[in-house]
């Protein structure tokens, strides 16, 4: 502080500028937007949900949430005004309030979440929590899958193998698609746009959706074909992620070396190989490791649709209702541990490679 004060003031001919005041007209416009939103929420409110404000001489009653929502909007605008936020940022803040109110009220989010504590004290939510926090480790380590002679830990191995196969195949195809999808490395605009469109279709179907589709195509859930359906689903899932993320990395690649490769008379494939691929290799390795992690997690979720691996066992145990809570807990805790280990491993590999 003293250091700043003791400095001789430099030529103070030019006055330091004040932070500019945002234009009032824009803020009034924002208030109009808030009022419009309020009018809309008032119009679409549920008649039964009202708030009485008995003020003695008069009883003010207003729909419960719209008024609070409106006051919140005004408060946000006032805060923005006093902190001299630019109108655009204030508009952003207002939009967050309006949209969170609109979306939340449509699914009765506040009403439902208020119920949660009462559910915790009674019913089987409590039993479930107790079960999850007292996992049955002996089940995980020594039991067999119900009705068979296969040990539970074998399911983990299958999950891991599914993830490895899916990662290798999915990332390789994803790399090729990313090359075709980015206008930087693709043959022409048309190819790039087409591949991007196909890729968004692949990505729009979730992994569980792909698993359901493949399980239905191939048939058979338990072993062999069940694992195949899961692997195919994971491959589609990985292609979507890698092609999207890596495509964007390729878009951002330094154009200089590409121009140099062009200037030597290299053709497109040679240019992609010698200039683009080395530049995006670190991203590719990093995304592949990330996708491997996702695959371990996703294969647990895929079990819900009846494919093989630890996910299948998890969904069987959840299906047993009140008898399976300790087992479910054991699987979930082990899943946390496995994902953590995979995360550490991939971090270590990334550090070694890059």
């Amino acid at each position: 502080m003293t250091a700043v004060a003791e400095r001789p003031s430099a030529a103070s001919a030019v006055k330091r500028p004040e932070p500019p005041k945002p234009p009032l007209a824009n803020y009034l416009g924002l208030v109009v937007i808030a009022m419009a939103a309020f009018a809309f929420f008032w119009w679409t409110r549920e008649d039964t949900s009202v708030l009485f404000l008995p003020l003695g001489f008069i009883t003010l009653w207003a729909p419960q949430w719209p008024l609070i929502g409106f006051l919140t909007m005004l408060a946000v605008l006032a805060l923005c005004w006093f902190t001299r936020t630019s109108p655009m940022a204030a508009f952003g803040a207002l939009s967050v309030v309006v949209f969170s109110y609109w979306a939340g009220s449509n699914i009765y989010f506040i009403d439902r979440i208020i119920d949660v504590p009462s559910r915790l004290t009674g019913g089987n939510t409590r039993d479930q929590l107790i079960g999850y926090f007292n996992p049955d480790w002996s089940y995980l380590l020594f039991s067999n899958v119900a009705g068979t002679s296969r040990p539970i830990w074998g399911e983990w191995l299958i999950t891991l193998c599914m993830a490895v196969v899916a990662t290798i195949i999915g990332c390789f195809i994803g790399l090729l698609l990313a090359m075709l999808a980015s206008p930087v490395s693709s043959f022409n605009k048309a190819t790039s746009q087409t591949v991007k469109a196909v890729n968004s279709v692949v990505r729009s179907i979730p992994d569980v959706g792909w698993a359901l589709l493949f399980a239905a195509f191939i048939g058979g859930t338990a072993y062999g074909l069940g694992a195949l359906a899961a692997v195919l689903a994971l491959i589609m899932f990985n292609i979507g992620i890698v092609a999207k993320l890596l495509g964007e990395s390729i878009d951002a690649v330094n154009p200089g070396p590409l121009e140099a490769a062009d200037a030597t008379g290299a053709n497109l494939l040679q240019r992609d190989r010698v200039a683009v691929l080395p530049a995006v290799m670190p991203s590719f390795v990093s995304y592949s490791l990330y996708v491997f992690e996702l695959n371990i997690r996703a294969s647990a979720a895929l079990g819900v649709v009846g494919v093989a691996g630890i996910g299948g066992e998890l969904s069987r145990q959840i299906g047993r209702m009140s008898q399976g809570y300790e087992n479910v807990g054991a699987i979930l805790w082990a899943l946390v541990l496995v994902v953590l280990l995979v995360d550490l491993l991939s971090m270590w590999i990334r550090r070694k490679l890059l």
Binding site: G256, P257, E259, A260, A261, D262, A263, T264, G265, A266, N267, L269, Q270, R271, R273, V274, A275, P278, A279, M281, P282
Partner: protein, 281 residues
């Protein structure tokens, strides 16, 4: 060797990059192009190998008419015309040798490039190029680990690996410190004379152009405003190209201090004081 006949370049946004250029550059010439930023120096150079397509007139390299629309003919032309860039444009993550081998792309089949398996002759050419620029000992180092001057030498080696008839250089030494700039430009000049390569070089530094070039071309607003042997490029002519009087920086002599001890203390203080009014220049 290189002939411009009424060459125009109009960019898609309507900006006229080159305006009716007529030039004839003979084999083995070392031509420096000078001019302010935006004068069309880079456009002129890039028109030669089709990186910027020209929109009017005729541009010939050797016997070949440059046709920016015909991709395969353009690739054949580019194989004969090497290019060096201000930012070196090496691929940082691969070895120096592999960077030089990029120059062999036009002579290598696509599948060989894809699996990264270059033939013995290609490697021999690459090593000879590295020997010519004097960094053969760095062949297996990562390109990004090299200093600026070494990186530009890698770029020159990459171009030499093409066995080019013409070398285009777009501000080749603008990113280097003055002593290194002189060394790299000296190497380029020597190699160009040894191999009889035609060389077109863009430059900011008038003193470098005067010291190394056979011929100087001055450009302003897309037009050639001066064209003559280096001896004729007297200060008055250059002032006409630049449209301002020359400053001490433009005509700096060879006496560039190499280490800090060479700079006298007062001179340093003066430089600081002089630098203050227009600190951004």
């Amino acid at each position: 060797m290189i002939t411009f006949e009424n060459v125009d370049v109009v960019y898609p946004n309507g900006f006229k990059g080159l305006d009716n250029i007529n030039l004839n550059i003979t084999k083995g010439e070392f031509v420096a192009i000078i001019g302010l930023s935006g004068a069309g120096k880079s456009t002129l150079i890039r028109a030669v190998n089709g990186l910027v397509p020209y929109t009017g007139g005729t541009l010939t390299v050797g016997e070949t008419v440059v046709d920016p629309r015909n991709k395969s003919k353009l690739r054949k032309l580019r194989a004969r015309v090497g290019m060096i860039f201000q930012q070196f444009n090496n691929v940082g993550r691969i070895s120096v040798l592999n960077n030089v081998l990029i120059g062999r792309s036009a002579f290598t089949s696509t599948w060989r490039s894809l699996i990264g398996w270059y033939g013995a002759e290609d490697k021999e050419v690459a090593f000879q190029s590295l020997e010519r620029v004097g960094i053969v000992d760095k062949a297996y180092n990562r390109a990004s680990a090299l200093s600026g001057g070494q990186q530009q030498r890698v770029a020159i080696a990459r171009v030499l690996a093409q066995d080019p008839e013409v070398i285009l250089a777009d501000e080749p030494v603008a990113s280097l410190d003055p002593p290194t700039a002189r060394k790299v430009l000296g190497d380029l000049r020597r190699i160009q004379q040894d191999l009889g390569i035609t060389c077109i070089v863009n430059m900011h530094h008038l003193d470098l152009a005067r010291d190394y070039a056979d011929r100087i071309i001055g450009m302003r607003a897309g037009k050639v405003v001066f064209d003559g042997p280096t001896g004729e490029a007297i200060d008055a002519v250059i002032e006409d190209v630049y449209q301002r009087s020359l400053t001490a920086e433009d005509i700096a002599t060879v006496n560039v201090p190499v280490s800090l001890e060479d700079i006298p203390a007062e001179a340093e203080a003066e430089a600081v004081a002089a630098g203050e009014p227009d600190g951004n220049s």
